[in-house]
Point group: D3
Chain length 190, copies 6
């Protein structure tokens, strides 16, 4: 599973959740996790979560993760959402290690009573995709939702901190998935 | 998914990891999570983890969780290990909420430098099983491994605390799995 | 699995077979069976059955069933058609209980030598859909096919009878699927 | 899918539900449905239904069906039970056509208030098995269950009638499964 | 699995890789392998291989194979590519039997240092598709790739030879897949 | 996928086809291909091929391949036999490159009219296993089957040649499977 950090600035407009985006846009072949810092503003026709229809999904600056898995054929939304949960729980753990106590509800992370993150998972028949992102700032987020950002909380993370955090999250996630594969091959079954 | 707490005292000897144990021993039909406090001493012919062959797997008192899932047909070791990881991460979170800081490596939880937990997952073609247990005390655990127990750490959990914790873990786990199912049904796919 | 009866009158134009229709149009999350009485006139671009290309698929009044299952991931056309057959056989049984003797061929039901029903199944990667409908009247059905309706046969069902029948069918179907799940969890496997 | 009728007399002792029985005992390779008339007396160690543990499962004369499917890899208990239900519903239909009105509950058929049939489904990772049998007589059935037989009811079926019925059931079942496969290949998916 | 040879001349423009093409264009229901001799010029919006984006995929005369499998539900890209490889290896073997020594790399066949073949596999949720084609001549192939054709090599195959070869390939492929199914049903599993 | 060549001499008695053999006997975790030169004499209770029941399966010296795949969960006999065929076809190709012309029928290879190879595939729910072996000599093979060996044919391969061939086969096989995975991740699906 390949890991890649992009230069800051790319807008997350929802198109990156499309299957094969990493191959078509970045030339990355096979399973991958790509991270970058950039704004978010999702085109309504790129919406994946039907509960978000009609809502604004935007933020001035977030740290983004786009994951694509090709290991399961055919792709499986159930497994994909299990992996999303594992990712979110890893994020919560690593924030905790930085002294940032958060609250998780499903795939949402809350910090100081504000929504810190957005996430969705989806798939085509041949790949599973996950998008996860955390606000660096609450600026540019929808008015009707209380939000918070990693650079605004008590820990006052810098961009450098966030970049490092993103790498740690990616590494831990890749390791966890690989670890699971190892566990399968040492287990007696019935 | 049914939840059940058994009276304290039953030995975990490894037979409870067998598919259909909850139905055969307790009359529970369908997916379930069963918890109880009791000792552990695994018969060598009930070993599931081939890395444990030749090792003693025992403890005088643990809080046990036995999970069985029938929702995936045929059963899938990969999904089963994903669920095990989610369970372990929920445990870590709930310990944290009790002020008990732990370290997770794969499916193991460490507390104050000692091994707190054991876990395994397995399956037959029609069901997926998970066993997870935490020491209440380090007594009766193998000599060659540093262990620790929930009643011995700074938080000094009582049996009542542990019983309550076990219920919380079960509830949170059942909710998480159910939540994932809900998420599938609101997601646009490609 | 949720059951819902809609007010009479909604046209079945084929759009209701789209995955997630129940969620998007009715706010129903998760697996569901929705029934209503209304006309049918399928837009040619909503056709699912390639054998129907170029045919008129219409009727002035039918009792409709739209089923969506999210329990199997990824969705499986084979299982979906097995469920469709089970639905159609339940319908035949319940008509029989009302004294209406019919003939089943695959997913079609015939009454007094006329075609009583239409049905199709399809899926996206995350859900399985079934449409099944029976004519209340032969009015408005294609000229080149002999059809018959539930209010026209000897039993002369009223709208109230049909509504009650639809509820019975839904309940029996939901119970059957749930029953199958129960059976899995009491079965020894090899 | 091969169909075979055996000579009358073979005891159904539960061993015939084992995967590959048709190949090992009869040399039949691939999916098959085998029928014969004979007694039943299931060895306790051949029990598949955990709810039957401790019960006598026997009858002096029944018409038996043993089905094995290799088309789904890996085998799937859920699909297997769907097929079992379809089989049972076909049986009910064909009895009806002979003027024998029965009642179905799950995989059981009742006639004149007595239990007419037994059935179970199971699988190994490579094949799905179904056993279904109907009493010809209530003789030799357990004392604590009211049973009935095809030769005892008003229709008074003869052995020849039953043999013919068994062939019809087999043919209808094979046709139904094949029909479903045909339907898949004419269906537009999303 | 049905085999069909079409009259020569039909352009392969990429539309034939669409699921259900054989049914919609030729009325063939179920799994099939269709062969014909004709030119190739793939519309850019029919491209399946993302590595081919921007490239010309064309040739004046090729022998084409279009395969569709409905036996696996849901369809599986991994199995589909395994079947593609088996097809390509059968082709190599049959060319060898005609005295034409070739080199295979993945799904490409090379002859006398020139590229002889093109191939792709894809799927929808209900069917798996494979296209494989060999140049009869290098005329009309892209300028930037060295190609070769079956009628140009030392063996100088005639159109009749190629038609016969195509039939042999189809037969051998159908036999191989059927053979695999047979093998499953004689194998003990764990 | 790990490759390992063992020292010559180990008897293939059928136990090596058991799931997890590579881990339990050799400490190899995860998917692997293991090769060695040694005799074969299969215990009748280790037979996997039900067609071999009652037959002697033995040879004084063969080159063996034992493959285990954990990548597909749950394991799939169909895919497993596809991989077996790919392996056998790779063997045939590499023999050809050494000037040894053979004939393949299903999973058997014939040389100079004698049977050169044996092969079987099987699986548990968590892994897929393949055994393939070629005679080095026809000594010690069953009397009722004409066999041939790699050291006896015109090419007169030495032990060193065979060891090198085994490595090439392993490498080519591992590369082929990995290549297929790559192809999936560049393919547009429907």
């Amino acid at each position: 599973m390949k890991q890649k950090t992009l230069e800051s600035g790319m807008l997350y407009d929802g198109s990156q959740i499309n299957p094969m985006w990493a191959f078509q846009a970045l030339g990355i072949k096979g399973s991958s996790i790509v991270t970058w810092i950039g704004p978010m503003n999702i085109h309504s026709d790129e919406l994946i979560d039907y509960e978000d229809v009609g809502l604004e999904i935007k933020s001035d600056e977030m740290v983004h993760f786009i994951i694509e898995h090709f290991d399961i054929q055919p792709a499986d939304m159930r497994l994909c959402y299990h992996r999303q949960r594992i990712l979110v729980m890893i994020v919560k753990d690593l924030l905790e290690e930085l002294g940032i106590k958060t609250l998780r509800k499903g795939d949402d992370i809350y910090l100081d009573g504000g929504k810190l993150s957005v996430s969705i998972a989806t798939c085509s028949i041949s790949s599973m995709k996950i998008h996860f992102a955390m606000n660096l700032t609450s600026q540019g987020t929808p008015d009707d939702v209380k939000t918070t950002g990693l650079t605004e909380c008590k820990a006052h993370l810098t961009h450098e901190d966030v970049t490092k955090l993103a790498k740690n999250i990616s590494e831990r996630y890749v390791m966890e998935i690989s670890d699971i594969e190892q566990d399968i091959s040492k287990t007696r079954v019935f």
